[in-house]
Symmetry: C2
Subunit: 355 residues, 2 copies
């Protein structure tokens, strides 16, 4: 008596539209939405059909969540920190400066209180939140001139937004909000001195190395970036339970897929960029330390917002645990293997496969 | 004309049995199979129903793949290196000593040649391979006495199997094959001196800290461990395409879920173990270096096996790239954050949440 109506539910034909915040040219990050849609379409033989639209096709990339809230589309694929203008709390579903890395974020989201706390917040905005992709730790961006100490950051005009921009401002940087397509000419003309983007694979496409050759790491404002789908709450609530479950499963799959794709493509792009003259540099310690202090001061101020504080405190409590555990087995193993890599002692380097 | 039969296909009722290599008490690793089954069952409203059996319920844990090969069950959830007795090549779907870490393995599997090469091999064994879980870098195990240098490893009777055991043998260790349940009494009686298991969360349950308090890291033989499902090839080929796609999606989701669960549970267990007297120790550098040399010598010998060599060479070529890229943004960010953690400077430590 139960099985028949349940199966009938699943085969309801459902057509949704998903607006991405990204152009198709950023194939890895845009691919998070198409991967998710493909998994859902294939598993249902096309009965649940999500059509993906690139940024600008329906609404501009930075209005993707708004389009879901007002019902223009059923869902989007975006980065939650694009919407910090509404409230800083929005950023917590993506990443905050000096936040968790990719493994830590997934652990907190899926097994800590992350998903529940975030959905308590986003539900109030009329949205259901599903993590669906990650870039890993991003690069710190492209600089026209070398940064030798904190003093060199002073007065620097840098394309950087959101909470990271507010922190940069406190260490003397003049943050600029510039759309992706305008970064290259701005760097070329010198109307800006630096710009952050994503990582080697995406950055190479935009050619920044030609006009701002110093390539800094790490992007301390994006220790990971969790991409997500926001789903219109009414549309979510109206889905049959089977499709709700499938969407969650597909989003988890898209999450691991995007990370794997970046991890596969970034090393090749990094070598290619180095071959084209990009100058790889670590941020000086005093830049990192000053940024950290400025970040902590900002977070002290944000604690007056109870919505922020509830979620932030949970994330930060787990961050302590995560960076404790990371330094035991994971980091010591990576350190050992990275040392072999630098000394050309990996098996792939003996047979001519290495750098 | 196309949609109706396709949807009819999806709602075919299919019942499978999945035998796990693990007991229910190892809830995280056993949970990889039940997560996968749940995702599939929910997405199909129960039409594709995979029932999971713990090790020993149908066949012993180390015969899970055999049970799939001979058609006793349609699928299993296991670690591929349990079957190195058949051929060392089997290990490559799980992990090999000094191999990739979790992010690297996923990148190679999903975007490199990993999945294709492995399935070319496993298909010949009558199996379809699907990655479905990860433990991350494991711990190096429990030792009754402190290891201060390579000399202390000489003659040590250690519970460790497979390729790792063969490498340990070359540095003077006497490897022992002992089932999980027999480790504790063997350590207690001193019939063995050391034993490797998984990591803090699983290890704490077995109580090894009471009889072998020195807890070493990293487990260089398991920089990651990819758990997998093997599916009987005929059963796989007979699935409707929608269910093949759904199984792959569910396996990806189980992969990210298990890693998140271990990352969430291990830090708490690590603190708990330390509180109970476990003595955390890094392997001395000469132990790691001698093991590495012994490993490379073993791999030189295994290169005469063409099935091994094809897959191994592909994995090792990517390993060079992976540990290059890892040392740029990811590791420098983690290092910065781990330093803050050690110095009690993380936000969660200010508010009394940390150690």
């Amino acid at each position: 008596a139960l099985a028949a109506p349940a199966i009938a539910q699943t085969t309801d034909k459902i057509q949704w539209r998903c607006t991405s915040s990204f152009p198709q040219s950023l194939d890895t990050i845009y691919g998070g939405a198409t991967d998710l849609a493909t998994y859902v379409r294939e598993a249902t033989d096309g009965a649940f059909d999500i059509q993906v639209f690139a940024a600008g096709e329906i609404v501009p990339g930075l209005q993707a969540a708004d389009a879901v809230q007002n019902g223009t589309v059923e869902m989007c694929h975006t980065a939650s920190y694009y919407y910090v203008g509404k409230s800083p709390t929005w950023a917590l579903g993506g990443v905050i400066p000096f936040g968790l890395d990719q493994r830590g974020m997934n652990a907190w989201l899926y097994y800590g209180d992350g998903m529940n706390l975030l959905n308590t917040f986003y539900n109030k905005q009329g949205l259901q939140y599903l993590p669906a992709g990650n870039t890993g730790t991003q690069m710190g961006g492209w600089f026209r001139n070398e940064i030798n100490s904190l003093a060199d950051m002073n007065g620097l005009k840098m394309r950087i937004a959101g909470l990271a921009g507010r922190i940069m401002e406190r260490i003397g940087v003049v943050p600029q909000q510039i759309a992706g397509g305008d970064i290259y000419p701005s760097l070329e003309r010198g109307t800006i001195d630096a710009a952050e983007w994503i990582g080697p694979y995406d950055d190479e496409k935009l050619g920044f190395y030609q006009v701002a050759p110093y390539y800094y790491y790490p992007g301390w404002w994006e220790g990971n970036l969790t991409l997500c789908s926001f789903i219109n709450k009414d549309a979510w609530d109206g889905l049959p339970p089977a499709y709700q479950s499938l969407l969650q499963t597909a989003a988890r799959a898209a999450n691991v897929e995007m990370m794997a794709e970046y991890d596969y493509k970034n090393p090749t792009a990094l070598r290619s960029l180095a071959g084209k003259g990009a100058q790889l540099r670590a941020f000086p310690q005093d830049v990192l330390d000053a940024s950290y202090e400025a970040g902590m001061a900002l977070y002290d101020e944000l604690a007056s917002d109870p919505e922020w504080k509830t979620i932030y405190d949970s994330m930060m409590a787990f961050e302590v645990d995560h960076f404790l555990w990371t330094q035991v087995a994971e980091s010591t193993y990576k350190n050992f293997m990275m040392d072999k890599q630098r000394n050309n002692l990996l098996p792939g380097q003996k047979t001519g496969g290495g750098n």
